[in-house]
């Protein structure tokens, strides 16, 4: 356990050193995204009613977490695979779970400032009144963790070129074809069914519910689905990390 903790802390330091030059860029991208969703998307609609405003403002931080976990993280993992970092780390005398935990920690920390910025932008723009539940912390953590572990699973299992394509596709699906920024009932029935399985709608649900605490209560189903995706992502990632030819 001491070895694990020591390895973990050293790896966090190493990963943070590696990422520190990219951090400002991530912040800029996340801010643009949040501002783009909250202000830009509102231009698409003739008038913004309270329900739309709520979806846009809670969708912005959700999208921020998706972009960090499922786009930026896998692209950097793909790059580290091309550069040999992945192969190098495999030769180090550190537990593989410590490598994964250190990577996850760094990415979760990277997503945090953008999350806050997205939320602040939304609240300022729409003058929203939120009823924040104590579950908001665990919910955000679960969304970030799920996005990042699924992103990692793609990046570790697929070749770098496929990873880059997949992460581009995820941006478009999340932004345009997922009930994150608008209610699910606007989608055709078959797409609604698809989103019952995919994590995007559930991510938006847990973020929105914990920020607004609806009268009907906070549903547990989205949490369960996300936990399932998270465990699957972790399992695939660890499998690839420990695989031997």
């Amino acid at each position: 356990m001491r070895l694990w903790l020591r390895s973990y802390l050293l790896l966090v330091r190493w990963t943070a050193l590696r990422l520190r030059f990219m951090l400002p860029m991530f912040l800029v991208i996340q801010t643009f995204l949040a501002v783009g969703v909250v202000i830009g998307f509102a231009f698409l609609m003739p008038e913004v009613d309270p329900a739309t405003a709520l979806h846009l403002s809670t969708g912005a931080p959700t999208l921020g977490l998706i972009v960090i976990g499922m786009v930026m993280a896998p692209q950097l993992v793909a790059e580290s695979k091309s550069r040999g970092t992945f192969a190098y780390n495999r030769t180090l005398p550190v537990p593989r779970t410590a490598v994964l935990a250190a990577d996850l920690t760094t990415w979760l920390a990277t997503g945090l400032p953008g999350l806050v910025l997205g939320l602040v932008t939304a609240v300022l723009r729409f003058d929203l009144r939120l009823h924040v539940s104590w579950l908001v912390g665990p919910a955000m953590l679960l969304v970030a963790l799920t996005a990042t572990t699924v992103g990692f699973a793609i990046a570790y299992a697929a070749p770098p070129t496929i990873t880059n394509l997949a992460s581009q596709a995820i941006v478009f699906i999340a932004l345009m074809f997922s009930p994150i920024n608008y209610p699910a009932d606007r989608l055709p029935g078959w797409l609604q069914a698809v989103h019952h399985v995919l994590p995007f709608e559930h991510m938006a649900d847990v973020v929105r519910d914990t920020l607004t605490t609806p009268a009907s209560g906070i549903g547990w189903l989205p949490f369960a689905v996300l936990a399932g995706w998270c465990v699957a992502g972790l399992a695939i990632t660890l499998r690839v990390m420990t695989r031997r030819d």
Binding site: L10, W14, G84, R244
Partner: protein, 293 residues
Amino acid sequence: MLHLEALTKTYRRGVRANDGITLHVAAGQVIGLLGHNGAGKTTLLSQVIGLVRPSSGRIRLLGRDPVADAAWARTVCSFQPQDQAPLTGVTTRQAIEIAGRLRGGSRAEVRRRTAELLADLDIEEWADSPAERLSGGVRRLTAFSMAVVTPGRLVMLDEPTNDVDPVRRRLLWDQVRELAAEDRAIMLVTHNIAEAERAIDHAVVLDHGRVVATGAPADLAAGREMRLELTTPAELTPPAWSRTARRDGDRLTMTLAATDAAAAVTWAGQHTGRFSLNPASLEDVYVDATLVA
């Protein structure tokens, strides 16, 4: 320290990278793995450190099985992979210190040893530069330092001198000898045979996954200590004293025993004025071994 018995590795696509390799490495010994690209050298090292699973055969490292306990194997082996180490965002010193700490060294010891390596390898001037912008040679020396800053009982180096300038290559070989003097075993892959000859105790020549020659550099050259090179367009039949002969265009190269040197000079003088007789090198042994195989 390390014993390989009939080690065989066949990859899923059918490539037999190692074919019945038997090899023993003792503490304090420097083993040089020589061979063409694709001869199976990197596969051999990867199996010892548990990155690749052998198809058959046995590995014993310090009396234990590194295949069954790969995590343990990585703690007793220091490995410098052939790929460049990841140096994005860190300075040379930071990279070496983090690697040393990850390998279990204490903060003070790692700091002292890092300063020592930077000085001994003469790369102090880049110690605090962003390592990713450095030349290939300095990056390679950084990777070497990362592997040996907190060295394991077995140190494995995959082409450690690639891109390194001739002066610093010598400094690196000195470090390898020092590690051996501390009773560690060193197994290294190199194409720089002429230099490795001075650093290694025992050479293992691999060809298509098999061991085709093995022994101390001097023993390998025994009976063919001399090399005769002559330039002549004539198709000469190599005399009885020639141990090996190969032709490359107009140039004929033969190896022979030291006792036959006088006969060789007489014979060569009869055919051409352009010849030379030199002590044979490990490189001659290597080329002959892989040509015959």
